[in-house]
Amino acid sequence: MGKTLAEKVWDEHVVRSGDGEPDLLFIDLHLIHEVTSPQAFEGLRLAGRQVRRPDLTLATEDHNVPTLDWDKPIADPVSRTQVETLRRNAEEFGVRLHPLGDLDQGIVHIIGPQLGLTQPGMTIVCGDSHTSTHGAFGALAFGIGTSEVEHVLATQTLPQARPKTMAVTVNGALPEGVTAKDLVLTLIAHTGTGGGQGYVVEYRGPAIEALSMEGRMTVCNMSVEWGAKAGLIAPDQKTLDYLKGRKEAPQGEEWDAAVAYWQTLVTDDDVVFDEEIVLDASTMTPFVTWGTNPGQGVPLGASVPSPDQFDDANDKIAAEKALEYMGLQAGTPMREIKVDTVFVGSCTNGRIEDLRLAAQIIEGRHVADRTRLLVVPGSARVRLQAEDEGLDVIFKEAGAEWRGAGCSMCLGMNPDQLAPGERSASTSNRNFEGRQGKGGRTHLVSVPVAAATAVRGTLSTPADLEPFEARRPAPQDKAE
């Protein structure tokens, strides 16, 4: 029997396997940020160990950094200490760092692909659960904890139990205005937050192939939200086109050798996955969450569900608690929910394509009264590219706040937070209680829904907006 894409990548990286022990996998790229690394470096120091392969390690500052006054010293002393600790560790252990203010600084999962470091067939880890994003290139990429960060720093390997394989096949084509984000939110509502647990998932089928690389990253990014260890997509011509010419992609003969290898990275025809889910993209619509986990979602055209609609006793209790926390009544049409803050950004939807799409909808319109729109580019280069294209002007003229790059309100570790009771429509990945600030209420949405919601002040799609004539065509350039 043949192998799945994930099994091929896995097998290529087994350093050692023995009976009764997990496989020891070699790690091709280890990404590091300020929040989950300090204790790992301290562990190395205490044990007198070095970073084995600084040449396969890259650090940046993203989780904790301010998006205002980012060119000044960080005001919060505790955040500043954490960032300065990363800088000291990077220097002491010889790790390349893109600090705040550097052109290549940004959310760790945005800068890997942007630099061309994220390539098919690689193993990529980071002390961050959204490392699954890199799977869009056919890499096996997953999040790890700090003890594992220390393990990779010391050995460039990780002991890992072999996961089960699953295929998510998405047939048909997404209707106009329905995005990769809607697709993945629909999937998570179908599986629940634990449905992918123990699996590495391959997304495939015509609707996945039709997605841009950015859209594929959005889908793979949220693999962890339904419990999967990793999510990946076989590389194709779009993958090669995205990578070719990027700063750290192979050049010349190396490129040809790499492409020859990458083209072998497909699931063999005779493979049987341990599990398979089949979805039809043509029935999908803009999809939003109403509750406090990413699986609690409905089409935007639907209403807030009643706990009685859930058969499972745990789901029923979870729905009751979620409605109470979210301050929502069962039966309220989702479109009538008023939103205080709209957040466009994060490793899910903070790429240049996302900002272009938001700007296209916002242009010539204005953010609703008593609603604030925060636009946070995923990286410094995304910010500069957007400014080159004049997107920042469109946002600012519409009354939005244009910020510096970072994770920002996705997790509210920096000052970008919701106030208690404040409600957001957010292009990020998690609607957990308090995720965007203590007592904050989050609705996960796509970029077009975020933009339209900012204009109307209630959850909306662009189709709900008054027609606006002077639309500019979307520019086609790459992010670099």
């Binding site: 070699f26 204790q39 390539q119 647990q197 419990g227 997790l411």
Partner: protein
């Protein structure tokens, strides 16, 4: 790492499913650069509520947490494990754990014992009707025990063999891997030259 063989302590019923790591410790508490001092962040939002289980005696002195399915989903933050340990928890019992949380627990020495959902229901009922009741988790026999007489609960729990062995022996993962240095060196020599480097 300390060896883990068996632990008996006050059981804490956390009647919730989908407890993600943002609930276990919110991001605002992740700014420390050490492995200690995270207990204040443990379930920070819920601890504002005086009726929350950890705000009530004798549960506040608990060391075995009993939670619903999908405990520890979401963010990879190992701080969630440290916060539980810093507070005094030695074991968490749940019908299903988030993958990364379970891995982190095994590395940091917190026992993540996976049991049947019915066992969690029975433990909840027991711990709520008899506050302060002890729960014993025995890693050697892979069993969880609580209560006496007709109410007694005894069942097995799941944990993978390798993690169990490491916890029982108190072994350092990095030390084990470094004993395979020669194999790592051989693998490195075989990597294709087109693979990217950061330096």
């Amino acid at each position: 790492m300390e060896r883990f063989t068996r632990h008996t302590g006050i059981g804490v019923p956390l009647r919730r499913n989908n407890v993600d790591t943002d609930q276990i410790i919110p991001a605002a508490y992740l700014k420390r650069v050490t492995r200690d001092g995270f207990e204040d962040g443990l379930f920070a939002a819920w601890r504002n509520d005086p009726s929350f289980v950890l705000n009530r005696k004798p549960y506040d002195a608990g060391s075995v947490l009993v939670a619903g399915p999908d405990f520890g989903t979401g963010s990879s933050r190992e701080h969630a494990v440290w916060a539980l340990q810093n507070y005094g928890f030695k074991a968490v019992i749940s019908p299903r754990f988030g993958d990364i949380f379970r891995g982190n627990s095994g590395k940091a020495g917190l026992l993540a014992a996976q049991v049947d959902e019915k066992v969690v229901q029975r433990l909840w009922d027991l711990l709520e009707s008899q506050p302060g009741a002890s729960v014993t988790v025995d890693l050697e026999s892979r069993t969880v025990k609580a209560g006496d007489g007709v109410d007694a609960i005894e069942d097995s729990f799941d944990i993978d063999d390798y993690t169990r062995w490491r916890l029982l022996e108190g072994l350092d993962d990095i030390g084990i891997t470094l004993s395979h240095e020669a194999e790592i060196v051989a693998f490195e020599a075989s990597r294709p030259s087109f693979k990217p480097a950061t330096l």
